[in-house]
Symmetry: C2
Subunit: 222 residues, 2 copies
Amino acid sequence: MITKTIEDYLKVIFQVEETQGTVSTTDLAAELGVAPASVTGMLKKLAAHDLVTYTPYQGVTLTAHGRAIALRVVRYHRLAEQYLAEVLGMPWDEVHAEAEELEHALSEQVVGRIDAALGRPTTDPHGEPIPTEDGRMPDRDDVPLASLVVGDCAVVARVSSREASFLRYLGSMGIYPGASVQVIAVAPFDGPLTAQIGGQQYAIGRTAAAQVFVAGVRGRED
Amino acid sequence: MITKTIEDYLKVIFQVEETQGTVSTTDLAAELGVAPASVTGMLKKLAAHDLVTYTPYQGVTLTAHGRAIALRVVRYHRLAEQYLAEVLGMPWDEVHAEAEELEHALSEQVVGRIDAALGRPTTDPHGEPIPTEDGRMPDRDDVPLASLVVGDCAVVARVSSREASFLRYLGSMGIYPGASVQVIAVAPFDGPLTAQIGGQQYAIGRTAAAQVFVAGVRGRED
DNA sequence: GAAATAATTTAGGCATGCCTAAATAATCTT
DNA sequence: AAGATTATTTAGGCATGCCTAAATTATTTC
């Protein structure tokens, strides 16, 4: 039986695989808030169920079956987030926590209706792509705001953090998917970046700017 | 910690208490699909948490605290059902099963938004009253369709079964909360009752008619 | 390449919530 | 009121998923 816990492990393995390529026991333990020893035990179980390929001391990879489940969980999570924000008007800093529960509780039928009600959206409120019903993950085409140079204009595409207070901070500056930004200044020695958003200028630290991704970058001379 | 299982036990205890007054271990076991011995163990735990008053061999009663949790679970369940039917257009025979999961996954915030989006409804798709936010259960005022006599007119108020095939059967006759019915004939010896609904006549067995509740009964001579 | 450090696994335990089989208590029969 | 029946509890187990402490393997560092 695919338990909630198994779904969570597969989802996290998928996401670590996507961002880091390789997935270690320690990474998973940190990500799941669990002791490394607990992860080892669970990985053995997942391997026994043919959901991952597990080589002791070498990490794991999802099997096709495991990947399909992971994509389904991510799809349910992001559709839930989008529905909560779009239809029920919930602020974007709260939807992630809610969706963590809902992703395990929603049925295929309900998700299908939610998807239709939203007009088959392709991204969630944070700009993350929503896996399709047939298990494909749309690919992203964005770069960190921190990588832009003075004069560049772009549109916010995605925010990689889910931390509520950080999302509220971004929101207070008008930074969310779809917003236009222009880089006014970039301080040296890893200093802050000054950006213009909706007529206002804001100084943003590099760490923050590395979590905001933009698309459609145009240099000043365009 | 209030687990999903505890919520289910409290909900069922509440519902058995409502319909039968007294709640035995065996009733709960049957209702929960679990062995009586398992119920005994859980009742001890619930009593230790001060959620029920438990007297061995004598049954259980909810404490104020236990009752509050039970009412909250029932509220979440019924609001979820109403939302699925009303907003997402899900057929009434499917909503109960979905809500069994959702009642444990929805947060107070989301339920608040759902409640507001529905305009603070007082009943679910089966006509059952929805407990209020402050923990009061609106009382019902209905009688079984099976208790009417020839010539009586009434409006369907509630259906007590949650069985999908039975609900579809009722739906195929146009029987659902709000529908008008008139009793045309009542066969003797516990025989079927013939009712007129939306211009059509249907013969309905006594067992079925006992699960349909009506309100606003008017005799033929009114 | 041997010692130190870091990562991972093994071993033994704990809580939850279920089970069956056996014992006990309550209730019904006659 | 004794015996039979039914309801309930006790006792002992199992699976899941977590933990800590100790052992092992891999990786650095000198």
